[in-house]
C-alpha cells in the first residue's frame, strides 16, 4: 500500500514555473508566425473578379503571405487585356439599377425578364458598362488597379497550365508577372500549409 502511494506521487516540479515557460514559448511562436492565405480563383466575370483581388490585396496589407491559383475561367483575370463583363441573365440576385438619373430612379430595381435579357443584342455589354460606371462613381477600384496593387504587395499569382491547354490559349496572352504555371499537385501542398484557404 505504502509503495503504491509513492509511485503515484507527482515528480517534483514547479508547475507555475513550467506553465510560464510554456506560455512564453507559445507566445514567441505565435508572434513569429506570418499568417498565410491561399485562394483558388475559378470565375472570370467582372463581379467574381473582385473577391480574390480584394481579399488578397487586403491580406497582403495586413502582412500576410498570399498565393492565388487561377484556374478555369479564373485565368481570364490574368490576361494582359482585361475585358471583364457581367451577365445579369439567369442571375436574379444581381440588382439592376441605373447609375444615372434622379435619386428615385437610381434606387429602383428593374426586374427585366430573362427573355428580354437573352434576346436584346448587346444587353451584357450595356449591363457591364452600367456597373462599371457605378463602381467608378462609388470609388470602387478597378480590377486592373487591384491586380497591380496585389503585384506590388508581392501577392503570388500562379496559373493553371491545364486550363491554358484546354481552352487553346497561349501563355503570351497573360501578364508576365505570373510566378508559375502549375497543376493541382503543385498548388495543394501550399494550400495545406496556409492558415486560410478559400475557393472562389
Amino acid at each position: 500500500m505504502g509503495n503504491a502511494a509513492k509511485v503515484l506521487q507527482e515528480p517534483v516540479m514547479d508547475r507555475n514555473l513550467f506553465n510560464t515557460w510554456f506560455d512564453e514559448r507559445i507566445a514567441e511562436r505565435e508572434a513569429a508566425h506570418v499568417p498565410s492565405m491561399t485562394i483558388i480563383a475559378t470565375k472570370g466575370t467582372l463581379d467574381m473578379a473582385y473577391p480574390p483581388f480584394i481579399l488578397s490585396s487586403t491580406a497582403a496589407a495586413l502582412g500576410w503571405d498570399v498565393s492565388v491559383f487561377f484556374t478555369f475561367y479564373g485565368l481570364n483575370l490574368l490576361k494582359k487585356d482585361l475585358n471583364l463583363e457581367i451577365s445579369p441573365l439567369g442571375n436574379p440576385a444581381m440588382p439592376m439599377k441605373m447609375p444615372v438619373g434622379p435619386e428615385w430612379l437610381r434606387k429602383m430595381n428593374m426586374n427585366i425578364p430573362n427573355v428580354v435579357m437573352a434576346n436584346v443584342p448587346g444587353f451584357e455589354k450595356m449591363a457591364s458598362g452600367m456597373i462599371k460606371k457605378t463602381m467608378h462613381d462609388k470609388g470602387v477600384a478597378t480590377i486592373e488597379e487591384l491586380r497591380s496593387l496585389c503585384l506590388e504587395a508581392d501577392v503570388k499569382l500562379v496559373a493553371c497550365q491545364m486550363t491554358v491547354d484546354l481552352f487553346t490559349m497561349d501563355q503570351s496572352e497573360f501578364i508576365p508577372e505570373i510566378q508559375d504555371w502549375i497543376g493541382a499537385a503543385s498548388f495543394l501542398p501550399t494550400a495545406q500549409q496556409a492558415d486560410v484557404s478559400l475557393f472562389i
Binding site: 480584394i54 490585396s57 487586403t58 496589407a61 495586413l62 502582412g63 462609388k138 470609388g139 477600384a141 504587395a153
Partner: protein, 77 residues
C-alpha cells in the same frame, strides 16, 4: 484633439479596400514612430482601420467621425 502628424493621407471618395491599401503604402514610406493622419469617407473603414492596426501592430491614436468623414491618426510601429 489635434495632433501634429508626420503625413496626411486623403482617402475620401475611395471604397473598400482602397483606404487600407493606401494606408499601408503611406505607412511604408514613414519611419517608426512617425504618425499618419488618414481622412476617409468610407464607413467601413472605421472597423477595418481598427482591425488593420491590431493586426499589423501599428497604434491607432485617434478615431473620430464628423459629418460623414472619418479621421484616424496612426503611429507607425
Amino acid at each position: 484633439m489635434n495632433i501634429d502628424t508626420t503625413a496626411t493621407l486623403d482617402a475620401r471618395g475611395l471604397n473598400c479596400p482602397l483606404p487600407i491599401l493606401r494606408t499601408k503604402k503611406a505607412l511604408n514610406s514613414l519611419d517608426s514612430g512617425d504618425t499618419l493622419q488618414l481622412i476617409s469617407s468610407d464607413p467601413g473603414s472605421v472597423k477595418d482601420i481598427d482591425s488593420f492596426c491590431k493586426q499589423t501592430g501599428n497604434e491607432l491614436l485617434e478615431n473620430s467621425s464628423e459629418s460623414g468623414e472619418y479621421k484616424f491618426v496612426i503611429r507607425k510601429v
